[in-house]
């Protein structure tokens, strides 16, 4: 059961501007399929920086990242984009929905990019994801016509469309009120427990972290407890 899907090996990162500062120092950990992991720590401890390195979007680091057993080192930009498309779903603090498209099309976009299924099938799958999140009635609205909590749930549906190996979240509840935050948290929990979905969520919400399966705590660029 404990299949490793994400592994960080001796990851370090430096910021060079204006002076060289080490922001990540020898980070090592693994995430297994179905793990619901939160990363906590004070502001500036490097938790978001770590997340963006793990997400393949930030390629300026030392050490090695393995996703699904494959090293992300020395891969081309287009190949990394493909990895993000296929294996990683993102939920950010801000929803980043495209107002030009309907809610449904927003959810469908990464699926259309992957091109694994036909358009009708992707649409069907998008409806299913929206149903899981309880917002299928909003499918044909534009993102600017729905509420903030609903927007974040649409973003989660978008992250789920390609059945990713792992969902990464950067403060996904940071912009939400308590009620909506709880809804999002319950969705994550349900995804992990019901659908065996792995999740890696960066947060500074202690209550949120306490309820996850595993907490990685960081301080000054190091992991102080796994």
């Amino acid at each position: 059961m404990s299949q490793i899907i994400l592994e960080a090996k001796a990851v370090s990162k430096y910021f060079h501007d204006p002076i060289t500062v080490q922001v990540l120092n020898d980070i090592n950990f693994t995430i297994n399929r179905g793990d619901f992991v939160s990363v906590i720590g004070k502001s500036g401890c490097g938790k978001s920086t770590l997340l963006y390195i793990l997400s393949t979007m930030d390629t300026d680091y030392e050490g090695e990242i393995l996703i699904d057993g494959l090293s992300m080192k020395n891969k081309k930009e287009a190949d990394l984009a493909r990895v993000r498309n296929e294996k990683i779903g993102f939920v950010f603090q801000f929803h980043y929905l495209l107002n030009e498209f309907s809610v449904l099309k927003n959810v469908m976009l990464p699926g259309l990019k992957l091109g694994k299924y036909s358009e009708q099938e992707i649409e069907h799958r998008a409806y299913e994801k929206l149903k899981i999140l309880g917002i299928e009635s909003e499918a044909l609205k534009k993102p600017n016509q729905v509420s903030g909590g609903q927007k974040q749930r649409i973003a989660i549906a978008r992250a789920l469309i390609n059945d990713p190996l792992i969902i990464m979240g950067d403060e996904p509840t940071g912009n939400l009120d308590k009620k909506n935050g709880e809804i999002v948290f319950n969705i994550f929990k349900e995804l992990a427990e019901l659908y065996n979905q792995s999740l890696l969520i960066v947060t500074h919400d202690q209550e949120f972290a306490q309820n996850t399966h595993r907490i990685i705590e960081m301080e000054d660029g190091r992991i102080i407890s796994l």
Partner: protein, 420 residues
Amino acid sequence: MMNFKLLVSISGSLLVARLKQTIVAGVGVTFSIAMFITLLSFMSGLNDLLDGLIINRTAHIRLYNEIRPSNLQPIDLSETYKSHHNFISSVKPKKERLQIYNNDAIMNFLKSDLRVSGIAPKIITQVFFNIGAIDLTGAINGIDVEAENKLFLFQDYVTDGNYIDLKNTPNSIILGKGLAEKMLANIGDMIQVTTSRGERVKLKVVGFFQSGLQDIDNAQSYASISTTQKLLGESGSYITDIQIKLNDINLAPSLAKEYQNLFDVDAIDIQTANSQFETGSTVRTLISYSVGITLLIVAGFGIYNILNMMIYEKMDSIAILKATGFSGKDVNRIFIGIALTIGILGGALGLLLGLGMSWSIDQIPFNTSALPTIKTYPINYNPRFYMIGVVFSIVTTYFAGYFPARKASKVDPVIIIRGK
């Protein structure tokens, strides 16, 4: 394929979301392409008109005999003085006739030359037109009426009377409009001319011609070849000029040289005789092209600006597209797609508008006494201008889109997303 369709649909959505700017950019392209086409069609129409003034009435090659002193004096031919410097002053041309010798054989040879599209023989002679006690100097062009009409559209310039009467009526003449006005001559009147040999002859006026060039209309006239031969007291084989039209006008200079050597006559080609017209046409064409292309480049900057603005507005969208798996290349294609859509739609409308504007100019009356055959402003509907317009609109918009698109493809999603 699906990826392409997806990128097109994203381009389309971004375009529609910024419809107003898109239309402004598109109108810029439309306007510049339309102006480009109208300008070139009009300019080139005018060029053709002006060139036609000369080219339609001028032989591509003219064969004639020029009176000039011989290049070789007898002493130059002497073996004894070959190595000496010989000074001979006051050399005079010998009495030589202007006639082209053996012209029948020359004309038969030319008729069988495939590079020649037609020939027309001609006699040019100076005469005095007698008006009471006053003599006006002028010239009679003796022409083969049918050949002249075929080659030089003679009938277009005969504004009164029928050109063919010149052939059918013996001892007839068609006068230049200006000349006729001076002589107060009407069609059907008899006029009197004095030939260079002193003989007085009466000729019947059967028409007037108007070439558009004052100097010609005030001094020139036309008669048939046989009338002119009679006037000069020459035989039926006497002609002074052979006018040649070629299938390809660009061959004129080299063929002129060839004929000059072959027939032992003087030959002049149209390019040498009228070099100033070609220069004028070239400069006018150059000006129209530069103005047209400037317009297109300005439109290109418009597109560049709008795409740049769009990229700043859509930073978030670009970032999330990249985060969710779109590569830099995909983003690049989306923005190039937007630029090309503006270019192609704007360009296509520009072609139609350009055609419409050219057509409108073509309808404006343009009457000038100098150009009797022209009724409206001239337009050249050359498909080449439309081709250039299409190609240029696509190329300009592509480059206008290229730099913003490259910028968009380089957007680092981490900076945008973390910056929030």
